[in-house]
Subunit: 441 residues, 2 copies
C-alpha cells in the first residue's frame, strides 16, 4: 500500500491491515481502546487533539467548570500502543474506490475505514441567523457563551439606553432537549446565587431566561414523567418556558417567534444536531444527515467502511429511525465494532449490534434532576441529582479531571459560588459575535 508523504513518517508497519478512524469522540475513542493489542495498525484522525465530554459543556458555558476538566488529550489514550497513531488533521472527504481518506495535509489509504465524526449543530437551514446565535457543541462554543454572557452584564451596568439594557438582561435558550434544559437551569442558578453579588448595581429581577421549545414538551428523548417534572422545576426557578413555539428569525437584536418577539442580545442555540456526514459517500447511503448502516455498522453498499455513533443510522425493529444520538450508543457501538473488526481480521463471523439502554437523565440545577431507568421506572429530586453526579464523574476522561471536577462541585455546593468567571474571549458589542482580535499587549 502506498504511504502518502505527509502522513507516512513513523507509520512503519506496512504489512498489517490499516484501520483508519475519523473522529475521536465517544465512539472513535472506545473503538481505538478496544483495538489495543490487535494485529492491525490503527490511525485516528481528528481536528482537535482532545476529546470533549459534551454532557458537561453547559457547565463550562455557565462558569462552573474549566474547559480543561471536561476534555481529555487524545494522545494520552494512545500511550504505550506502538501500532496506534494519532494525526491532528481535518478530513476533507473520502474516496471509497481508491480506499483513501483525503485530509488537509494529504491522502491516507486504508484497509478498513470507520466514520465516527459525530454530529454538528443543526440550524435547520436558517443560514441568516446562524452567525448571530451561540451554539453549544464544542469547547470553544462554551467559552464563547461564558464570555458573551458575562460581558453583557459588564455592559448592562454602563448603559442608560433602556432598550439596550433590556436586550442584555434577556437570555433566550432555543431547544428543550437535555442541553437546553441543563443550561437554562444553570443560568437560573447564576441569576439567583452569583450575579446579584457580582453586580450589586444591576436589578436582576429584570433578568429573564426564556426557554423556547418547538414541540409540546421538554426532554423529548426521555419519559413523559421527565418532561413534566423538568418543566415544573424550571418554572419554579423562574424560567419562562414556551412550548409549541418556533424561532422564525433573529437579527441580532430581536428574536421573532411564531407567537411574538423577544428583545435579546443572547440566543443560545441548542435546538438540535445533525450527523456530520463526510464528503464522498453515495447519496443512497445517507438519510436525514446520517449514514445508513447494517447491523454490523457497515455502511450500506460498502464492504470495508463502517460508521458508528451519532453519524450512523442503524434501522431495526426496536429503532426504526435509528438509535438516539447520545453518548451511550456511541460508546457501545465503538466497543462492539472493535470486537467485530478483530473477528474480521481473524476471519471469524461478525456479531450484530444490540443497544443496551441503561436509562437517561438530566439535571436542573442544584439538588434537582430527573432519571429514567431502563425498566421503565422514573424518579426525581435529590437522589436523582446524586446519581447524575456520580455517573458524570465516572465517565469523565482521566483521574485528574474527575478529581478537579469533584473539587469544583463540592466547592460550589457549599459556597454557592462558581469559580471560573473569566472573560477571555472578547466580543465587540456594536456588536457581539465579532470576536475582537486579542491585543498582543
Amino acid at each position: 500500500m502506498p504511504i502518502p508523504a505527509h502522513l507516512s513518517p513513523a507509520i512503519p508497519e506496512f504489512d498489517l491491515p490499516r484501520i483508519v478512524i475519523v473522529g475521536g469522540g465517544f465512539a472513535g475513542l472506545n473503538l481505538a481502546k478496544k483495538l489495543r493489542k490487535t494485529n492491525a495498525q490503527v490511525v485516528l484522525l481528528d481536528k482537535n487533539n482532545f476529546q470533549t465530554f459534551q454532557p458537561l459543556l453547559y457547565q463550562v458555558a455557565t462558569a462552573g467548570l474549566e474547559p480543561d476538566s471536561i476534555a481529555g488529550p487524545l494522545r494520552k489514550t494512545f500511550e504505550g500502543n506502538p501500532n496506534h497513531f494519532f494525526r491532528m488533521v481535518k478530513v476533507k472527504g473520502i474516496n471509497t474506490s481508491s480506499n483513501e481518506v483525503e485530509t488537509t495535509v494529504g491522502n491516507l489509504s486504508y484497509d478498513y475505514l470507520v466514520l465516527a465524526n459525530g454530529s454538528v449543530t443543526n440550524y435547520f437551514n436558517k443560514k441568516d441567523f446562524r452567525p448571530k446565535v451561540l451554539p453549544l457543541k464544542r469547547v470553544v462554543h462554551a467559552l464563547d457563551v461564558r464570555s458573551h454572557i458575562l460581558q453583557n452584564f459588564e455592559q448592562a451596568v454602563m448603559t442608560e439606553d433602556h432598550k439596550e439594557f433590556e436586550k442584555m438582561m434577556n437570555l433566550v435558550v432555543v431547544g428543550g432537549g437535555p442541553t437546553g434544559v441543563e443550561v437554562s437551569g444553570a443560568l437560573a442558578e447564576l441569576k439567583r446565587f452569583i450575579l446579584p453579588k457580582d453586580y450589586p448595581d444591576l436589578d436582576f429581577s429584570k433578568m429573564n431566561i426564556h426557554l423556547i421549545e418547538g414541540s409540546g414538551r421538554l426532554l423529548n428523548g426521555m419519559s413523559d414523567f421527565a418532561g413534566r417534572e423538568s418543566l415544573k422545576y424550571l418554572q419554579k426557578m423562574g424560567i419562562d418556558v414556551q412550548l409549541n413555539t418556533f424561532v422564525e428569525d433573529y437579527d441580532g437584536d430581536t428574536v421573532t417567534l411564531n407567537s411574538g418577539k423577544i428583545e435579546t442580545a443572547t440566543v443560545i442555540w441548542s435546538a438540535g444536531v445533525r450527523g456530520n456526514v463526510v464528503d464522498g459517500l453515495a447519496d443512497s447511503s445517507v438519510e436525514r444527515s446520517r449514514i445508513l448502516v447494517d447491523d454490523f455498522n457497515r455502511v450500506k453498499g460498502l464492504e470495508n467502511v463502517f460508521a458508528i455513533g451519532d453519524v450512523a443510522m442503524m434501522q431495526n425493529e426496536d429503532y426504526p429511525n435509528g438509535h438516539p444520538m447520545v453518548a451511550p450508543v456511541a460508546m457501545q457501538q465503538g466497543r462492539h465494532l472493535g470486537q467485530n473488526l478483530k473477528n474480521l481480521i481473524s476471519k471469524k463471523p461478525l456479531d450484530p449490534f444490540k443497544y443496551f439502554d441503561k436509562g437517561s437523565m438530566a439535571t436542573i440545577g442544584k439538588n434537582k434532576a430527573v432519571v429514567d431507568m431502563p425498566n421503565g421506572m422514573h424518579f426525581k429530586g435529590f437522589f436523582a441529582w446524586l446519581i447524575w453526579m456520580f455517573v458524570h464523574i465516572m465517565y469523565l476522561i482521566g483521574f485528574r479531571n474527575k478529581l478537579i471536577t469533584l473539587n469544583n462541585w463540592i466547592w460550589s455546593y457549599f459556597t454557592y459560588d462558581k469559580g471560573t468567571r473569566l472573560i477571555i474571549r472578547t466580543f465587540n458589542r456594536k456588536f457581539i459575535r465579532r470576536p475582537v482580535a486579542v491585543n498582543k499587549n
Copy 2:
C-alpha cells in the same frame, strides 16, 4: 461633580470624594482592599474582569495549570462594599486639568486618581518581529504559547521536510529573568517526562531549548548565587543557555543572534517589560517608560494623581533607579497608598513609602529552586522548591484557586503528568502566528 452618562448608573454617592483606580493588578487590587470602609467612592477600571497571577503564567503556557486557576474575578473582591464599583473599560488617556479619565465608553471625573496599570512586554523597538514572537504577560499569551508549542509537535510528526522539522523542534526563549528561566525549566520537563510518551513517533533528542540572555548572567534581579546555580540547573537539564547574546532579528523562520543563527518556529519573548504609561501626562513626569513619583507615590508635578506598582518610579537613596518591577513592591505600595489616601481624606499627614524586601525566588523544574533571603542568605534545592510552592499557593487569589492548584501540583508530582494539553487556539503554520478563525461548526 458631573457624572458622565455611560459610567454613571448606580454610582450614586455624589457627596463623597471619588477615587479612581486604573488597573486591577497586584497594586490596584491591594489598594482597593485597603480602601474598604473608607468614606470615599472607589471606582476600579480594568480592561479585563479578572486579576492575573502573573508569576504562574508560565505554568499555564507549559500545560501545568488551567488559566482559571491563576486568575481571580475582580468583582468577587468588591462583594459587599457598596461604595466600590468596577467598570470593565479600556482607558484611553487622562486629562489632569479637568480631572477626568477618558475611557472607551465615556469620561469619568475623579477627585483622586491612581495609576496602577502595570507593565507591558518590552520589544525594545523591534517592531518588525513583534507580531512573530510569543510574549508571556497575559492569560491569552499563555494560552497562545501552549497551543502553539503543542501544535508544532503535531505538525512535526507529519512533515518530511527536514528544515521544517528542525524549526518545529527548536524552541528559543529570549530573556534570562524569572519568566525566561522558569519557562525554560518547565519546557525541559515537558521534553523529558511528557512529550516522549505523547509523541512516540518523534525523536526528542532532536528537540532543543535555547535560552538567550543579553547580559553575562541569569536572574539579574537576584544574587550572584541565584544566577550561578540556576545556570547550572538549566545546563544540567540540557538547555543551551547563551549569555551575552542579543537577538538582532527574527523573520518567523530564523532567529539572528549577534553570535549566529537558529532555525525555529517558536520564539518566546520574555526579554523584559516597560511601564504601561497612560496618555496625558507631562513628559517631565515620565522617565524610561515609568512615571516619576515622590515618596508618597504622588506623580511629579500633580497634586491628586498617584502611581503605584510597575508603572511607578520612586527614586531614593536605596533605589536610585526606582524599585524592581515585581509583585511585592506593587502589593506594598497599594496597601501603603490606601492608608495615605485615608489620611489625606481625614486631613492627617502622609507617611513616606518604604519597601520591605522579603527576598526573591525562582523555580527551575521539579525539586529545584533558588531563594535569596532578605538577610543576604541564599539557598537552593528541594527545600527552596518547597518554599517556592508554599509562597505561590499563599498568594494565589481565592481559596478555590489554591485548592485546584495544589491538586494539580500534587498530581503532577507523583504522576510526572501535566493535565491540560489542549490546543484551543489554533494557529495556521504556512504558517503560524495567524490564528485561524475558529469554525463555528
